[in-house]
Amino acid sequence: MEFIKDFDIKQALLHWAIVAAILVVLGALLGLVGAVTSAGIGRGLKAFGQMLGIGLNEIFVIVPRRILAVTILTVKESIRRKALMVGGVFLLLFMFAGWFLRSSANDTPAKPYVTFVFTTTKFVLFPMTLILACWGLPADIKDRSIHTVVTKPVKRSEIVLGRMLGYSFLVTILVALVGGIGYVWLVRQVPESSKEQLIARVPVFGTVRYLDRQGNPGNLVNVGDTWDYRSFMEGATNARAIWTFSGLSEADLHDDGALWMEQKFEAFRTYKGVIDEQIRFSVEFVNEAKKLVVPWDVFPVYEFSASPTLPLMKVPRELRYRPLDDADGEEKTVDLINDLLDNGKLTVRIGCIDAQQYIGVAQRDMFLRMPDRPFFLSYLKGMMGLWLMLLMIVVIGTTGSTFLKGPVCTMMTLGLAVIGVSGLREFMTEQLQQFTQNKGYVVGGGSLESLYRTVTWMNQQSPLPDNWGTRMIKTIDLGIFRVLELLQGVLPNLNGFDTQAYVANGFDVPFANAVLPSILTLIGYLIPCYILGYFALRVRELEAK
């Protein structure tokens, strides 16, 4: 469940405000310098002031009726260009989906089907949105049909907004259409035995801490797995993983009166053991305030199981147990809510019970499962993420088309999208983190240093020879890193919009951590893009082809 990410709204807004402020200052400076150099200081300053005044007026004083007119015009124009034909292509793809999902069998899990729907939707709608947004305005300028619009009492800002809204309307229709077809296909095609996987679990995650094999606070071990997502605890030792879930009350119990917990631990064997029995773990509840340790039960590990029921542990309200230090003593009873919750906090302790075998755990590997939500809603939210991503393309593409020609704008938007989707942006963030944390040092160096090391077959750690050439390389790399630092705040991370992993893995798409960040990101780009688009269209020579 590594796909689940947290979102800090305060930090995000602060970051946006800083970047926006820098951009406003930079934009204003650029405009000022341009005006002064072309018209002299006095006239330049006056022209800049006038432009700023008109600009602010046109940006903020807009008439919805006129925007609507431009929107309708944009939609009509796009329909005339047969943009909606893409729906037919999509339908065709689904008719032959079986060709591309060849391992379709009665035991195929639901996940690949969900992924197929989202991936296909993305790949079909993305190029269409790109072309629609990037070519509309330049084509109008080229055909001079833009004159029929600008000669009307309509502001340039309204044209930009109307265009964006028009394309967004079309994208919305298409997403609704293909999303609907995709949903029907999904429900019909997923094998009967995997239908139970089309759910929307609502997890509540806790915090986790570990005890090492001696029982001291510390870390668990790495068993040599290249993927270090999980750490492993040795069986029959004092190694434990302790989860704490907060804010619980009686209301969190399910209708059956139990608290549902779900796990996704991984087993690692150091010897064959009993081959047809899974590695097991014990579950204990701890209330430190009351000095209460309640051993509850033992469960097998169900790693990689797509079943939503097998890894489920239903904790009854009333628990019977024998204390750990008095196994032969009298059986006792505790109440889950009254005795085990400590100010709404539940502490759960997990230990592997098979000697010399290991269980791998990560923070998200155990969660409390609240009542499931309808799968349709989760699917809808997943599609919403995709829709917001396409709107982002509309915003960027339309803005680009106000100052670039169609092909150039397409290349720019495509480039930004590729950086945002392919993981290049994450790579850039990692490199910059290293750059900041290590005071300018990045393993393997910047782009030029990496190239130098590659062609000279030099590894990443060896020091570079000290000569004027390498000093120059380092200086240029430093400059590139500085530019990247600035760009980092501007380049969109389109992966954040992609919430299909939640839907495909049977989880509800969380509003706060997945939908809200996408909406805020879109708004965050929309505002500067709208302003930039307005000024660009205002200063653009519309006679130019």
């Binding site: 590594e2 032959f96 060709w99 591309f100 999902l101 060849r102 391992s103 069998a105 009665n106 035991d107 195929t108 899990p109 996940k111 690949p112 992924t115 197929f116 035995s193 290249t226 993927w227 997502y229 991984e266 087993a267 064997r269 064959k272 081959i275 047809d276 899974q278 590695i279 097998p300 590990v301 169900y302 790693e303 990689f304 199981s305 797509a306």
Partner: protein, 453 residues
């Protein structure tokens, strides 16, 4: 430029197109008498280079490759990387889909099928802790390979791999006990209602019997002239017969010592000596076959080739090939095991061991005594008849069976009468006191001590 009008120009283009279509038609035809002798389509057909001659043509695969224009290689590389990433992050459901996409791009690249099928059946399967999940991934690998075979019907290696999956992976892995059972009764009760998964076991056979079918198909292709680069052909051709032996041995190991097991050993012996043993191979010493076990047969071989190769040369090459395939050992083993008395003796020894662990000491002792007596008789008879004592010296499985029985017997004797093993105890001299088997004896004594403690 010219005096032709638009219509005339179009007519000229049309005539040009028609003229150019004539050589295309002739070069492309495969019909005898119509196409040129060396027409491209004809050559493609003769050298089996056409896609349809390699195996089933997949419309999705063709669509993919056309749509990708020249970017098939790039797309395949990206997918391979994705597959590795998904394997590393244990995203197995999507890995299964990614490997399908790779094979859509490279349907006739055998290594793709082999590598990814092994990836699923061996690597992914080993990641799972639940033995049912492991079996699921072995099946996924096998089903993937089945699709590879459909796309490459003329590849003996893929058919051979399928035999390996069904035979060795199911029958010899740590989970063999469960896997062999699951092969006939799939653990997904909800999907297969207590029957085998028809995709991998359509006739509800034992895994070794099914493996034999695949090995046989591989052999048929090799014998029809298809190339294989897996191993020495004489070894590869032996696999269907080894599968019969594996079947008999598996039944024996599982304690199923009945007429079916005896019949399986008999079948193995017959196939080994009649089918495999009589296949002719070309060696540096001319034509040879494995069953040329006597000088007379070797001389007959020399005569068949007009004494082109000297008798000693021929004999040398027969022996060398026999040694490569371990032919004589398996021949003797089959001959020995197919005797009903050997099965009876094995049964008595197995039952005797089981009775010991149930603490039925007297019955255990009785069975072991009987078993060892019968086994000694069978060995002596066999050695006397064949003048070959390799069952005594080379047969590891037989040695283990006898040493285990003696270990148990010795323990029972100690518990009941506080007496050591008698000097004249059957097979004591041949196995218990034989220094050649002392290492094996030590190993089994340690195991027995652990099990008894």
């Amino acid at each position: 430029m010219n005096n032709l009008n638009s219509f005339q120009r179009k007519m000229v283009y049309l005539v040009g197109i028609l003229v150019l279509m004539v050589p295309i038609f002739l070069l492309g035809s495969t019909e005898a008498g119509v196409g040129f002798k060396y027409g491209l389509a004809r050559l493609r057909q003769d050298y089996k280079l056409g896609e349809s001659s390699l195996g089933k043509v997949d419309p999705a695969s063709s669509t993919f490759n056309v749509v990708l224009l020249g970017f098939r290689g790039v797309a395949a590389s990206v997918l391979w990387q994705q597959a590795e990433e998904q394997k590393a992050t244990k995203n197995f459901a999507e890995l299964a889909q990614t490997v399908e996409s790779i094979s859509l791009l490279q349907p006739h690249f055998h290594k793709v099928w082999q590598y990814q099928a092994w990836n699923l059946a061996f690597n992914v399967s080993a990641e799972c802790d639940d033995v049912k999940d492991r079996f699921h991934w072995v099946k996924q690998g096998a089903k993937y390979l089945l699709r590879g075979i459909a796309a490459n019907e003329r590849s003996p290696e893929l058919q051979f791999d399928m035999g390996e999956f069904v035979g060795r992976k199911i029958g010899r892995s740590d989970e063999k006990e469960s896997f062999r059972k699951f092969f006939r009764v799939d653990p997904r009760e909800d999907l297969y209602a207590g029957k085998a998964d028809p995709d991998i076991n359509p006739n509800n056979e034992d895994n070794y019997q099914r493996a034999k079918t695949w090995f046989q198909r591989s052999n048929d292709l090799i014998e029809a002239g298809e190339e294989q680069h897996r191993m020495d052909t004489i070894l590869m051709l032996a696999y269907p017969y080894h599968s019969t032996r594996d079947y008999a041995q598996a039944r024996k190991d599982e304690g199923l010592l009945d007429a079916e097991t005896t019949s399986a050993w008999q079948q193995f012996y017959t196939e080994w000596t009649e089918a495999y043993g009589k296949k002719e191979f070309m060696s540096p010493g001319g034509l040879i076959y494995f069953e040329a076990v006597t000088d007379d047969r070797v001389r007959a071989l020399c005569a068949k080739e007009g004494d082109k190769y000297p008798f000693e040369d021929k004999k040398h090459w027969v022996a060398r090939y026999q040694s490569t395939a371990n032919y004589r050992f398996w021949r003797t083993r089959g001959q020995f095991e197919m005797q009903p008395t050997v099965q009876e003796a094995t049964k008595a020894l197995t039952v005797g061991r089981k009775l010991y662990f149930k603490q039925e000491l007297s019955a255990s002792r009785e069975n072991i005594e009987k078993g060892l007596r019968e086994m000694k008789l069978a060995i002596d008879t066999h050695v006397g008849l064949t003048n070959n004592d390799s069952v005594l010296t080379d047969d590891d499985d037989l040695a283990e069976l006898i040493l285990k029985a003696i270990l148990v017997y010795q323990r029972v004797l100690d518990l009941q009468e506080k007496k050591p093993l008698p000097d004249d105890f059957p097979l004591r001299a041949e196995y218990w006191d034989n220094p050649s088997w002392s290492h094996k004896r030590q190993e089994l004594e340690d195991l027995f001590r652990r099990l008894s403690s």
